[in-house]
């Protein structure tokens, strides 16, 4: 069975690379040769073909694995609408920017604004799933409208700013100021979280939909969350009351 396409970084990136055009739009059926022609912008001006920076092998099967130190690679998976993307290491800023479908599985750390929005965009993610198995820099899930962002490590802070809907799950430390200016949507904290003053406590209960989500993460990505998160209780906070106030923070509690 084909495992899809593999793109291996030929040499360390000489500058920050904007990879936003690589997987935007339809790509799942493209051959390695076709993908190799897609442009990567280096340092904001120079454009080089993807194939010049990466050795691209395999056959199209709706899946691409990107290998190498991609800490300077930004916007990978921007506008993603289909297929499965595996990043075998760290990734730079704006991974999965405004993606609408498909999945991104980052096996390392992610830079700022994972699953976020264009700086002038009204909406961030509108669908799909983004999993970061390491830590994430600030502002993951900015202005997301739908979809799922799972951060298995710690977050530097400001998770889900301006969320319109969708779900951000933080397994580690969610950091300060989560869910600021959110209208709807859920921020789920399995570890420590600082509840903003514009959120108000509602109750402690067991949200059934989280079990579905966690079981999907287990079956789809092999992310084995402890059973206590499936069977335990969550403190529900409604907010951001400085905005529409129909969002929520669900904070797991050992009580």
């Amino acid at each position: 069975m084909s495992v899809g396409i593999t793109a291996r970084l030929r040499a360390p990136l000489p500058a920050r690379a904007d990879m936003g055009a690589i997987l935007a739009g339809s790509w799942a059926q493209l051959s390695p040769a076709d993908l190799a022609h897609r442009p990567v912008r280096l340092d904001g001006d120079r454009s080089v073909p993807f194939g010049d920076l990466f050795e691209i092998t395999g056959a199209p099967a709706g899946r691409i694995t990107v290998q190498g130190d991609l800490g300077r690679a930004d916007r990978l998976g921007a506008g993603l609408s289909e297929g499965a993307v595996v990043v075998d290491g760290n990734i730079g800023d704006d991974a999965g920017l405004a993606m609408s479908g498909g999945s991104i599985d980052v096996r390392g750390n992610a830079g700022a604004r994972a699953g976020g929005a264009e700086s002038d965009g009204r909406r961030g993610m509108t669908g799909g799933e983004l999993l970061v198995r390491g830590n994430a820099a600030a502002e993951p899930g900015t202005r997301m409208r739908r979809g799922l962002v799972v951060l298995a490590g710690d977050v530097a802070g400001h998770a889900g700013p301006g969320m319109i809907a969708g779900t951000v799950i933080v397994v580690g430390n969610a950091g300060p100021a989560p869910g600021r200016w959110s209208k709807r949507g859920s921020i789920v904290a399995l570890g420590p979280i600082e509840i903003p003053p514009t959120y108000r406590f509602a109750c402690t209960y067991q949200p059934d939909h989280l079990r579905l989500t966690f079981l999907r993460l287990r079956s789809r990505y092999g992310l084995m969350l402890d059973e206590r998160y499936l069977t335990g209780c969550y403190r529900r906070y409604s907010g951001d009351l400085a905005e529409l106030g129909r969002g929520e923070i669900l904070a797991w509690t050992a009580e």
């Binding site: 859920s186 067991q206 059934d208 079990r211 579905l212 079981l215 999907r216 789809r220």
Partner: protein, 300 residues
């Protein structure tokens, strides 16, 4: 044909095409999932008077349900495509939404025909409801006094078969009941089959229409009533003093035929004179389950 001395009549059960939905009901414990499933499938023996036919299909372990909790699968069946969504909405709304700890999921995810259930029930949330898309499926979270009720937005609908049946002609009421219980035990808990009548058994088989009241669509099957043997065109052999029927519905004809075979085999025991089946001459229902073919191992 005889099986352990029981005569198998050369006739067939005549069944109809129905529309089927499978619901998976889960709960904190099997007890609460069962409570909802029992209420959901209550008063659902026959479309003649109940608008739908429904029953528990089988109990599910946590590993078999979408949310990992114990549950039950139920089949609900109607005669028309348009009727099924209405029945689902009213029944799930009144019996699962109301039941502590339960959630309700689609059990036919591959069915291309989808009917809105959660999409209608969400309005009970009075604007406070919220949805989540998980794995490409939308679920509605409806706030309730206990916490939240989770229900899938759409449920699959497929064509199924309703009205598979056989009658056990017995020397006594006790023998009929023993045979029926044995048959039900042999037929229960299978995927794709339900027995919608009480305990899986019918004592009041009906014929189409009425001899006296034109507006009635069904009345007692006098030809099989032992007390009327002397005053009607009876179809009861000598020595038969009680008859019970088993009606089964399913997702396809093959599963019904296979289940009938096991049920009839279990019913062929001491005190049973013959096994027969109900039909309308083959003119109404497209599915014919010939008893002798079934018992010879042939598929319907």
């Amino acid at each position: 044909m005889k099986i352990r001395g029981v005569f198998i009549e050369d006739t067939f059960a005549e069944a109809f095409t129905m529309r089927v939905a499978r619901l998976i009901i889960t709960g904190r414990t099997a007890r609460w999932a069962r409570e909802a499933a029992v209420k959901l499938t209550g008063f659902a023996t026959s479309v003649i008077g109940c608008k739908l036919e429904a029953a528990i299909e089988r109990e599910l372990a946590g590993e078999e349900t979408p949310d990992g909790r114990p549950g039950f699968s139920v089949l609900l069946m109607t005669m028309s495509k348009d009727d099924l969504p209405k029945r689902l909405i009213e029944r799930v709304g009144q019996t699962v939404l109301t039941c502590p700890t339960t959630a309700c999921f689609d059990g036919l995810p591959d069915a291309p025909d989808r009917v809105g259930v959660g999409s209608a029930l969400r309005f009970f949330g009075d604007g406070f409801q919220a949805s989540k898309v998980i794995g490409g499926e939308r679920f509605w979270r409806i706030p309730v006094m206990e916490g939240e009720f989770l229900v899938q937005e759409k449920f699959g609908m497929v064509k199924g078969v309703g009205g598979g049946n056989f009658l056990m002609l017995a020397r006594s009421a006790d023998a009929a009941l023993e045979a029926a219980e044995a048959a039900v035990a042999a037929m229960s808990g299978r995927t794709g089959v339900i027995l919608p009548f009480p305990g899986g058994v019918v004592r009041s088989g009906s014929k189409v229409g009425s001899r006296r009241i034109k507006s009635m669509i069904a009345s007692t099957n006098d030809a099989f009533c032992p007390t009327l043997r002397a005053v009607t065109d009876t179809q009861l052999p000598e020595g038969v003093n009680s008859v019970l029927e088993i009606v089964l519905n399913g997702t396809d004809a093959d599963v019904i035929a296979g289940t009938m075979r096991d049920g009839i085999d279990a019913a062929c025991r001491e005190g049973i004179v013959a096994i027969t089946a109900g039909n309308y001459g083959g003119k109404l229902g497209p599915h014919h389950f010939h008893l002798r073919k079934i018992m010879a191992g042939a598929s319907a």
